[in-house]
């Protein structure tokens, strides 16, 4: 149904945009091991995105590439956190922490979706995201407890990511319509909070007591994005759009 496609689009766009961000690090990471690790994570996210987008595309008789390359900014459905800039390594890790804990809890439950395709994608994805979560948690510890500078940067990175957290838990009427197909984010908020709190506590960090953005602003699921997404899409889509109808 269109509703399921819409839901798959949200999850797919989250992964696609994050993969696009993380891909930047390949050839620029602080050490070779991280070129490999961030590359792996980007690849996993891109893989999940392709599964979700292909599934969504079916509902409109399109392909994953139609969706990735030929939608305008306001047709993308990622939450705004996913499109935030990489910043320094700490900011990327802060974003990774929130994102991977969120995706882990979500996919874990989505394995039981009454929609078998979504369930199957989630079952594969959850194992990979488990590693992403571990990778982010380990780095939060290293950076928070490493040097004075790394601690300062880790805190700054968390501060810049935190205002985009609340939007992830927005729960609009789509969830009610989808019933057991989807995983309403409220169902795992407590587990999400607990995991984050545990990591931050081990890292001897305060839970960033930052003002959350008002709901009005977190409109990624409605196609309302931050100023960053337009630039990302211009770059991502440029070649495909220069050659309409071409295959690659």
């Amino acid at each position: 149904s269109e509703d399921i496609a819409e839901y798959a689009l949200r999850l797919g766009d989250d992964g696609l945009i994050l993969a696009q961000r993380l891909g930047w690090w390949i050839s620029r990471a602080p050490e070779l091991e991280e070129d490999v690790a961030l590359g792996n994570i980007a690849l996993d996210q891109l893989g999940h995105a392709r599964s979700f987008l292909s599934y969504a595309a079916g509902a409109w008789d399109k392909t994953e590439d139609d969706l990735a390359y030929w939608r305008g900014e306001n047709e993308f459905r990622c939450a705004q956190l996913f499109e935030q800039p990489n910043g320094d390594f700490a900011r990327t890790i802060a974003r990774q922490l929130i994102v991977s804990v969120y995706q882990f809890e979500l996919y874990r439950r989505l394995q039981d979706s009454s929609d078998p395709t979504l369930a199957a994608i989630a079952a594969k994805a959850v194992k990979e995201v488990d590693y992403h979560r571990d990778h982010a948690s380990q780095w939060v510890l290293r950076l928070a407890l490493g040097t004075e500078e790394s601690r300062r940067r880790m805190i700054e990175g968390l501060k810049l990511s935190w205002p985009h957290l609340e939007e992830l838990f927005d729960q609009d009427e789509l969830y009610a319509r989808l019933g057991t197909v989807a995983v309403p984010p409220s169902s795992f908020r407590a587990d999400f909070d607990a995991f984050i709190a545990a990591v931050l506590s081990e890292a001897e960090l305060e839970l960033p007591q930052l003002p959350q953005l008002p709901r009005a602003s977190g409109g990624g699921r409605r196609g309302e994005h931050s100023e960053h997404l337009g630039y990302l899409l211009a770059e991502m889509q440029v070649l495909a759009r220069e050659h309409p109808g071409a295959s690659w």
Binding site: L16, A19, Q20, G23, W24, I26, S27, R28, A29, P30, E31, L32, E33, E34, D35, V36, G39, N40, A42, L43, L46, G47, A49, R50, L53, E64, D65, A68, Y69, D88, F89, L141, R142, L143, L145, G146, T147, E149, S150, R153, E235, M236, V238, L239, A240, H243, G245, A246, S247, W248
Partner: protein, 314 residues
């Protein structure tokens, strides 16, 4: 002496030298230079292809390209490890690289101007690399040979992917086909020059061959490569930018047109289109990442201390 004799025996038997074996200082030095140049080439070589990750024109191609560039980081890791078995730490090699003191394959100093360049690099550059590297799987130094085995397996995958990119373009729109031909035109000669200078201008080759590091001469490998490309370019429906390519019945070898070795030397000397850019980017990544590496080291130390204290208490 005994060490030299044992070494000579191993070489004569075409068997393998391992890290703990005695080896001549010159052998060690040659290997460190060659392995580290190879490692640096993998690392610097990530850049021209990474240049198209964000703009790859389909998600499938984006995934393949990401995986490929990431593989190159992995190859760099194997190779630095192999160099480390010879007593040269990765950090030192990295610092030589960003200081501009170390060499890497000169071909990565050319820009990737279009998506087709990703295909051309896969097909021609990885193709040439494989020709060079397959014999290195039998290199006399064990860790190097074993690293090459892993690397070659992945490289032939990469070459095939490059070929597929070009094939898709060559069978696509006229603009796509033009893009593919243009890329082949630009990468052909630099790929041929990857095998190094002509045999009569390659002073170190002889010693490397005696040591069973190198197995074939530069020109032999280059000729073999040209032959392969001639066959494959036909399948692509493209042409090589060299009207002097021919099979010489007498020598039973492929011949090719003259190569611009002056340009090769210019680029090698740092005056290629992207030398400055490639080194700057590597330097930037290294310097921007310093605080991260320091944090990781400090954290590891802290963990070790905590563990030791725990052990003492227990």
């Amino acid at each position: 002496d005994a060490g030299q004799a044992a070494f000579d025996r191993i070489i004569a038997a075409d068997s393998r030298i391992e890290p703990r074996d005695w080896m001549p200082a010159a052998y060690r030095k040659t290997l460190v230079r060659q392995i580290s140049q190879h490692a640096h080439s993998e690392i610097v070589g990530m850049q021209p292809e990474a240049n198209w990750i964000s703009r790859a024109p389909s998600l499938k191609r984006k995934a393949i390209l990401m995986a490929k560039v990431q593989d190159e980081a992995g190859h760099g890791l194997y190779l630095y490890s192999a160099a480390e078995t010879l007593g040269t730490p990765r950090q030192q090699l990295t610092e030589d690289l960003i200081a501009g003191k170390a060499r890497y394959s000169s071909i990565f100093n050319y820009p990737t101007r279009s998506w087709a360049d990703v295909g051309a690099i896969g097909w021609l550059v990885d193709g040439a690399a494989i020709c060079n590297q397959v014999p290195l799987c039998r290199a006399s130094y064990g860790p190097y040979g074993r690293a090459m085995v892993r690397i070659c397996k992945e490289e032939s995958f990469h070459q095939r992917q490059g070929f597929e990119i070009l094939l898709e373009l060559a069978q696509g729109t006229p603009e796509q086909k033009q893009m593919a031909q243009d890329a082949v035109n630009r990468w052909y000669a630099p790929a041929l020059m990857m095998f190094g200078p002509p045999d009569d201008d390659s002073p170190n080759s002889k010693q490397s061959m005696a040591w069973n590091i190198k197995r074939f001469s530069n020109d032999e490998l280059r000729q073999r490569f040209v032959g392969m490309m001639v066959e494959q370019v036909e399948v692509l429906g493209l042409t090589l930018p060299d009207d002097q390519v021919r099979f010489d019945e007498e020598s039973q070898k492929w011949e090719h047109g003259p190569l611009d070795w002056d340009e090769f030397k210019e680029v090698l000397a740092g005056r290629g289109p992207c030398n400055a850019q490639r080194l700057e980017r590597r330097r930037e990544a290294h310097e921007d990442g310093a605080w991260v590496r320091e944090a990781a080291a400090a954290y590891a130390l802290r963990q070790r201390n905590a563990q030791e204290q725990n052990e003492e208490v227990a």
